[in-house]
Symmetry: C2
Subunit: 285 residues, 2 copies
């Protein structure tokens, strides 16, 4: 019988708990979270057995899932390197960046403890265990960035997550961070900036702007993302993100210039390229 300790029972940690409990109801899941309501919801739902402090949970666990913000994951990893953990334990996480986390896991791995980085692309702006759902990650990507876990251990972990209906991809930490920066962090940044451009301007016009169009809603939807979470992401991912912004600025300038000089061929080429690329993207869903 497996004991799983989850540190952080927010949206992601709690969803991981639901998935694991569904895969193996005999699993004992214990957890820590500073918010009592996060614990209560999951205990009431029969998913989490009880709340424990970090050290107690870590020492009892066959599987440790670190599900706090990235900075918390890094300090947890350094803390774990000092503890006597169960032999054969797997330590994993669900953090949105991997280079810093893999680096923080070095002391732990040097002690012979298995570490496997993980990252479910959850795509929800909701927070808290009360919003967790078994199917939150269904048909979403779950990136695996391995430290030193054996192939057998990784397979076992994937099996435990099977009810989540995840699409697993294995990447290096560097590939992961670049990919997430481009496909998640940059779009969020753009949505925030676009929203802060458009809405105040329209408010100032003091007219009836009518029903917001689908295009306006779509391009700004992820500006609903949680400001706390995204301030943390933007300040921990700086190097990758700034590089992405610069690339985006290049494309924006390219299109702006073509418009300014009325280069219709260039405008059309750029729009055609985007159109085709976006249609190809859809085929993957």
């Amino acid at each position: 019988m497996k004991t799983v300790f989850i540190n952080g029972l927010g949206l992601i940690g709690a969803t991981m708990a639901r998935i694991i409990k569904a895969a193996n109801p005999a699993t004992t899941i214990i957890a820590f979270d500073p918010k009592q309501e996060n614990i209560t919801t999951m205990v009431d739902d029969g998913v989490v057995a009880s709340a424990v402090d970090f050290e107690t949970g870590a020492k009892q666990a066959d599987l440790i899932i670190l599900a706090t913000p990235v900075s918390g994951i890094c300090s947890s990893l350094r803390q774990l390197a000092e503890l006597d953990l169960k032999s054969g334990v797997l330590v994993t996480d669900v953090g949105s960046s991997k280079e810093t986390i893999l680096a923080a896991a070095e002391p732990l791995m040097n002690r012979g403890v298995q570490f496997l980085g993980g990252h479910p692309m959850a795509g929800s702006h909701l927070t808290g265990s009360k919003n967790s759902r078994l199917d939150l990650f269904a048909n979403h990507s779950f990136f695996l960035v391995n430290g030193n876990a054996s192939p057998a251990t990784i397979k076992e972990y994937q099996a435990l997550l099977a009810p989540g209906q995840l699409h697993f991809s294995s990447l290096t930490a560097k590939q992961h961070d670049q990919l997430v920066s481009a496909t998640s962090h940059l779009p969020h940044m753009v949505a925030f900036a676009l929203t802060n451009t458009i809405i105040p301007e329209v408010d100032d016009m003091a007219i009836d702007p009518g029903i917001p169009s689908g295009g306006l809603l779509d391009t700004t939807r992820i500006a609903k993302a949680d400001p706390d979470m995204w301030t943390a992401i933007f300040t921990s991912e700086r190097a990758d993100l700034l590089a992405q912004i610069d690339q985006f600025q290049k494309q924006l300038t390219r299109l702006r210039t073509a418009i300014a000089v009325d280069d219709q061929d260039s405008i059309h080429d750029q729009l055609q390229a985007a159109n085709e690329a976006r249609l190809r993207l859809e085929e993957k869903r």
Copy 2:
């Protein structure tokens, strides 16, 4: 019995035809379109009676709807100013910009012919009458930018469009163009540039990027827009659009700078503002 002439039987013109026919089945709708298939679909559906050339259609009509791209609408208006139209005719359009169109309508209006600018915010990247639907504009905005039509004429026109379930807003040409530039043209530009930033970069990584997240799909969705239509829009709306891009660049730089210097308060303020503004936007739908 009313005769309606629609010049341009693409997605928008054909949808207008369906709405009008639903409002008053006794209406005779005649139309011109260079693509035979656009005409055939609507004749087969019993919405359009027959195809006619521009002059013939214009002279027979009690209501003329100009539904070609903006440059075509402008030349149609100049052409109409030279024709003998029916007394009491209303000339209107569905073009996506209004300042140039209202200016092009001056000679016509100077002859005493009523002109009312119109613009349904259709929000579809599809084209052609085969994709037209009675409910295409349902719960969407329809902007009215009046030239010289009487209140009674405007009311009558709105009644004719009642089956479309539109949300009418009346604006000046300047307000309209600024609003559409901010809420439609800028988001499209950003989506095109963002798509051209992300997709080629991910392709170059030569990895399994997994399932595209909702955020990536949402922020780039309108990059599926038709390149021909949007090249035309970008080259006809240049002044407004360049101003909008510059405003967006300011917000982007504001956020980039805060990230680069690790000003967490500023980052959080900007994200919080965007979050609140975007939630307010949702209340209007």
